[in-house]
Symmetry: C2
Subunit: 196 residues, 2 copies
């Protein structure tokens, strides 16, 4: 007990990371403070020296989960693996993403609950969505030169379809239909941005 400040900062990050994963897996209402602390190797009592409330943990956990696409984009810009419309869409609609919500997009995992959350949570998610739309718009513009307005519209349809398709694929208990949804949306979205 009573470790250093440096260790506290690490502990704080660890709690947020675990919460971020667990919220995406089990929903904002599905994980308790005690459970998150236990998974971090700690006990409930210490929690409130890190966060004023459970809501604060939710906000922080959501923050670190959002903007993953933006970070990948920035990474690609500075020499990381290249990001294209195709790779983003393939990734989002992969069975891997469907089956691992804990490390996936927080919007497809939590949209329904976020819509019912307080203003701060919704504002965070709003900026995340705005950013994702901008990134996708950029990826489309890279393919279709000149038509900027159409690019943004297509980006909005793309993101809506991605989120909806993954949510449907996660609900559907018939594996064949679930795969059909992912495959079909993947194909049609790529057709849409293909030169024509």
């Amino acid at each position: 007990m009573g470790h250093s400040q440096a260790e506290k900062a690490k502990t704080h990050k660890r709690i947020v990371q675990i919460a971020s994963k667990r919220f995406r897996e089990d929903g904002l209402a599905g994980v308790g403070v005690a459970e998150v602390m236990k998974e971090a190797g700690l006990t409930v009592g210490g929690f409130y020296k890190h966060f004023d409330s459970r809501d604060d943990l939710m906000a922080e956990a959501l923050s670190v989960a959002l903007g993953r696409l933006k970070r990948q984009m920035d990474a690609a810009a500075s020499g990381g693996p290249p990001l294209t419309y195709s790779t983003v869409v393939d990734d989002y609609l992969s069975e891997g993403h469907r089956d691992k919500p804990g490390v996936g997009c927080p919007i497809s995992a939590l949209a329904g609950e976020i819509a019912r959350s307080d203003k701060r949570t919704r504002s965070l998610a709003t900026e995340g969505i705005r950013s994702d739309i901008q990134v996708i718009t950029g990826l489309i513009t890279a393919l279709i030169r000149g038509k900027d307005k159409a690019a943004r519209a297509k980006a909005i349809l793309t993101f809506s379809a991605l989120v909806g398709a993954v949510e449907l694929a996660r609900v559907v208990s018939d594996e064949e239909l679930s795969r059909e949804i992912l495959k079909t949306v993947d194909g049609l979205l790529k057709d849409m941005v293909a030169d024509r």
Copy 2:
């Protein structure tokens, strides 16, 4: 107290209707048994003579909410207001639907939570989704004669985009962006099925 069997059946239906609305508004985890009973003008104690468990109420409440599109379709077939691809899409992407989840599509309201629910709940939702896709496929086929396979693919993209767009529009706290999402997806989906 101690009313007739006929009245019990009515009471049962009323409980389910209220639960169906409240679950869509506040989430599967957001409403308690006591609250639903109170809204029905009853007390908690009587609940378990109607349902074996809260889960049973969830399943029944989801059942009555699902298949609304199918019922509208059947109604249209027997002389009701005509149902077209345009009307369905316009309706789904309306601000009215966005702002009244309690009387809207249970998939866009609850997909995230249903994906984390038990097998029975997911099976119910799966059949609801299958039915919605079939109805939309039919509406597209009515416009584009002959190309059946393309119709089903477009129906799957349509339903994914509808669900995703409404969820995003509900999350987004910036009214302008929220409306942009609804309008944009509405326009592009109708373009997609327009003769070309």
